[in-house]
């Protein structure tokens, strides 16, 4: 029997002893597969002419993108490029997106979050963070495109994000890695004194579609992992998990797993905003930084089982559930009790200047389903029941947060990190579906070499839980949110924008303008030709001199849904998309003399192959 031990080293002896072997799971799985009824196929099948009921927005992890799936079919509908280049759309190649991406060509996208109104997904925007290069982004769901990206200073790896407050007042970005404030060089010997885990309060201005940073909080130098905003009576509050409260600086596998308890950080964002208003902050690199050891009253710690991963607020906003990934325990806490403890200063001392609430005063119950190991993250259904992913025992356990009773469990293949329920992070989840976001696929699909795809599994929760579809997915879904399809309202074509000086809608307005060595092209893409200068002998040819600075503005005047054109110049490493009605811009230096075909890269018509011209670069003498 092959032992498959997902945890590390054998040093955490209690855990290894309890680790479920891979062979055991294979056996279980085969039994289940054999009993699969035909109705599962029907449940996930969406015939042509019908559409999926839900959109699933999944983080792409180190792919840097967001991936959109339909549920229940689990078909991938779209990649939204966010933090990484995407030549399919020209993202990172056209001027607008290149500027948004800044100095980076990739990102590590974690934990997408819908904008909310009254605690419900409103279908307008999606937020996400970049753990790789410390950024935040917003995606407009009218066009499924990224509208703004900001660099978040003083932080390294905003993993514990994004979560939005009940009316999208803030999206909070606590960081996974502690760094010296300002990210300056500093010996790790001074870790506890000089390093901090900074949390940022990010705002979104819907009018100009820009993100901003309202303030930051210099939390202790711990790792902040996951988080959730309060709801209803707890709406002014938020919770997050933190590990490495040992403040270890090396071999965290061992050294950050020493203490029996780490913490939940509980904070009141209205109190923090009030502190900022009252000037109770320091200016750090242009940011308003609150130091909680100096400004008391907004932030509290709650002890929680060893190295917690997820913390999730129940739909009614009354409880929050933390899962200790190195202890087989889900702990249910009461917001009401926490508020009481805060009010009564029912503290068990302080850590790093932050009061610790008395565990027993705040904890409602500890839940330990038999042999359920590695609890990570909890979602909810329409009855308020909880579904917790078990990373090590590879299953999802359904249980009642009001009683702690285990109600059902289903094996998943394998090692689920998160799960996502239909409208699962709102005040009113839908029930029906839970999807397990599995980290390991092993032998689930046709082999594609030493590294396998990630895997999502759709679970029907209308009766006894059952996995009814397994879908290999693009790397690497760390989190997802699922929204009712009718909440998303896209536009069909970009409307004419007569104020846009780069746009040209009439063939006769096309032109090539030269100023010194700067050449500006105002062109049109249409089925099935390019027109850069309608008056020229060859309207689909651009001729410049070697060394010219060339800017090409291109407007797609096919105001027809789905008729997208592409624009590439051969050998010039340039490609961009112009969607119906859109104007897009490409800027570069013509540094290679010669004759370069230009062509439409997005199949647009029966004469798409004829949609090409030439880019001629006259050599320097």
């Amino acid at each position: 029997m092959k032992k498959w031990i997902p945890i590390a080293s054998g040093l955490l002896a209690g855990f290894v002893a309890a680790t479920i072997s891979f062979a055991d799971f294979s056996a279980k799985t085969n039994t289940e597969a054999a009993s699969t009824t035909k109705s599962d196929a029907e449940k996930v099948y969406v015939p042509f002419g019908q559409k999926d009921d839900y959109y699933l927005f999944a983080s792409g992890g180190h792919s840097g993108q967001m991936f959109i799936y339909g549920v229940p079919s689990m078909r991938k509908i779209r990649t939204i490029p966010v933090f990484s280049q995407d030549s399919a759309t020209g993202y990172g190649f056209d001027e607008h997106s290149k500027k948004m991406m800044g100095d980076y060509t990739w990102g590590d996208l974690h934990h997408p979050a819908f904008s909310e109104t009254k605690g419900d997904y409103d279908g307008k925007y999606m937020f996400a963070t970049d753990v790789g290069n410390s950024r935040a982004a917003v995606v407009d769901l009218k066009t499924f495109t990224t509208k703004d990206i900001i660099q978040v200073p003083n932080t390294a790896g905003p993993h514990c994000a994004a979560f939005v407050t009940e009316n999208t007042e803030y999206m909070f970005l606590p960081t996974r890695f502690a760094v010296p404030v300002g990210q300056k060089y500093e010996s790790l010997d001074n870790f506890s004194d000089q390093y901090r885990g900074v949390m940022s309060a990010v705002t979104f201005n819907e009018k100009n579609q820009k993100l901003g940073i309202a303030y930051q909080v210099a939390l202790p130098p711990w790792s902040y992992d996951l988080s959730d905003a309060g709801k209803k009576s707890s709406a002014d509050w938020a919770v997050m998990t933190t590990y490495n409260t040992e403040e270890a600086t090396t071999n965290l596998e061992i050294n950050a797993s020493q203490a029996d308890r780490d913490y939940i950080v509980l904070f009141n964002w209205k109190e923090l905003a009030k502190m900022v208003k009252e000037g109770k902050y320091e200016n750090v690199g242009g940011q308003k930084m609150i130091y909680p050891e100096k400004q008391k009253g907004g932030i509290y710690l709650i002890p929680v089982a060893k190295s917690p991963h997820g913390v999730d607020v129940t739909p009614d906003g009354k409880q929050f559930i933390a899962s200790g990934k190195l202890a087989p325990t889900m702990t249910v806490f009461s917001f009401e009790k926490a508020f009481e403890a805060v009010k009564n200063k029912d503290f068990a001392g302080e850590r790093n200047g932050i009061p610790i609430l008395n565990y027993k005063s705040v904890m409602e119950r500890e839940v330990n389903p038999e042999n359920a190991l590695g609890p990570l993250h909890t979602q909810f259904d329409d009855k308020g029941m909880a579904y917790t992913t078990m990373f090590i025992s590879s299953e999802i356990v359904k249980w009642n947060p009001k009683t702690g009773e285990t109600l059902d469990r289903v094996p998943v293949q394998y090692s689920p990190g998160h799960s996502v329920a239909a409208e699962g992070d709102t005040v009113a989840p839908d029930g029906k579906w839970i999807i397990a976001l599995n980290k390991i696929a092993k032998d689930s699909y046709l082999s594609v070499g030493p590294s396998h795809p990630e895997s999502m599994q759709l679970i029907d929760i209308s009766g006894k839980m059952k996995v009814i579809q397994s879908a290999p997915v693009d790397p690497e879904p760390h989190y997802a949110q699922m929204i009712k399809a009718d909440k998303i309202k896209t536009i069909n074509v970009y409307p004419k924008d007569v104020k846009n000086k780069d746009a040209v809608y009439k063939q006769s307005d096309t032109k090539i303008v030269r100023n010194g060595n700067k050449v500006d092209v105002y062109g049109i893409a249409m089925r099935s030709k390019f027109i850069f200068d309608a008056k020229a002998k060859r309207p689909d040819v651009i001729e410049v001199n070697e060394g010219d600075h060339v800017t090409i503005h291109l407007t797609n005047i096919d105001f027809d849904e789905d008729i997208t054109h592409g624009f590439a110049i051969n050998s010039y490493n340039l490609n961009m998309e112009v969607q119906p009605g859109q104007t897009n811009t490409m800027e570069f230096v013509a540094n290679k003399a010669g004759t370069y075909p230009l062509y439409c890269t997005n199949f647009c018509s029966a004469l798409h192959q004829e949609m090409n011209g030439y880019f001629l670069v006259k050599p320097k003498k």
Copy 2:
């Protein structure tokens, strides 16, 4: 009734009159959807514990990548990065792939082709070309990774590729765009004299896994579109389509659609190889260039219906079928008759110094299924029956190449470019499945904004043709090949390579070596830590000086299927994957002083979140 006119401008009057409206198709479709039986769902459903029967390798077009799907489930299993950066795997970020990609960060991948043995897919390699930046690539199917990329000089846009000969002797790359030889600057007024459409004969050396160019052919300045190699009795020959034989230099939509006939180019690659051996070539920029007007006997033209797209050789190697995209005709030609015409010099004059075979002597039949418009590409089943995609009438027509009889037809949604049959390009197709590669999805799926996904539709051809699954797909499938799953033999982990000086398999062998301002790290990734120098106080920390040239070699010593680690340095725009057993290298200049967390980006174990360390960059004084 909304008229949806995929072709361009209304100027091709005959075509526009015949264009089928979008509304008409919607109506047909809804009728069909209503009659979908439950068995369709069962046919495409692959429950957990079972696997798909076929791998589908689809070109990614301007995404630059290859996409792997399972059939019949149509689930996407993998992206193989080929011509574009892919941060998920670190492709274009690690040293090996960065060097392979050269100066480019994207490509336009067209027409993947399996390596063949005796005219059958052998499951060993996959080839592809880059229309965007004129390259060719080979993918190793043991690991699903790109092994080599070469730049193809003297050409611009090898669209008419890749097709391999019966035993993978050559892969031919005729080019879509004519350019001056050497791609120098040259007025388009001199197009007919100075421009050429160069074809390259690319070879693959399996021993060192390197591509090479055996010779090139300076064909006339036309656009070469699609191609196929002969089989069995025609194995020494190949055919390709060419359009813009008008040699138009602007507004090709109109000007390249004037002549009633364009050509099939028929050539004998053994004759061409013989010419090279006999020194019958000129040296052009380091390449052996054959000029067909000077070296006769290897290349012939055959007139064919207006602006042909696909040309496809029947499985028995006896016929080839060309589809005239601007004429509603599939023309069946006989190889035997062509060989006779060549032997008897049965010519109808010459074009650009190349003999034209007499159309009537070579043509077997013209096939015009009623109202079938825009024939593009033909695939075959196990009975030798032909399936042709109709771009404009949005359907696939099944017909008998021996008789011309129309046997069946099925509407697809919408505008199929190519189709792919199970083992469809081999001497022995499997039958069972055809997949339509549709260019336009319109309202098929949940809306994701003005631009919609591409769409593939799986057609059961075991009885009357029926679309049984519709799958939105990543952009943009121009071609695909489908292979029996058991032909692909992947490795589970990379084997230990004791000859690799960059690899470190023992913790005690890890080290950080400094030579002047060059720092080489020989490190290990394992569940759940990095070790860069086991003897150091903090083995998971790398400290360098600002400006140092840093090379990090990292070996994943988890020799366990699917246990992949990632490695990123926060804010340094660096990420790469190390698959089980693999050694990978990252090289960069430490140009920013400060404290930067490094971490595993590929979820690997319950303690993945603890798998991090620090990259410290001491500032210059």
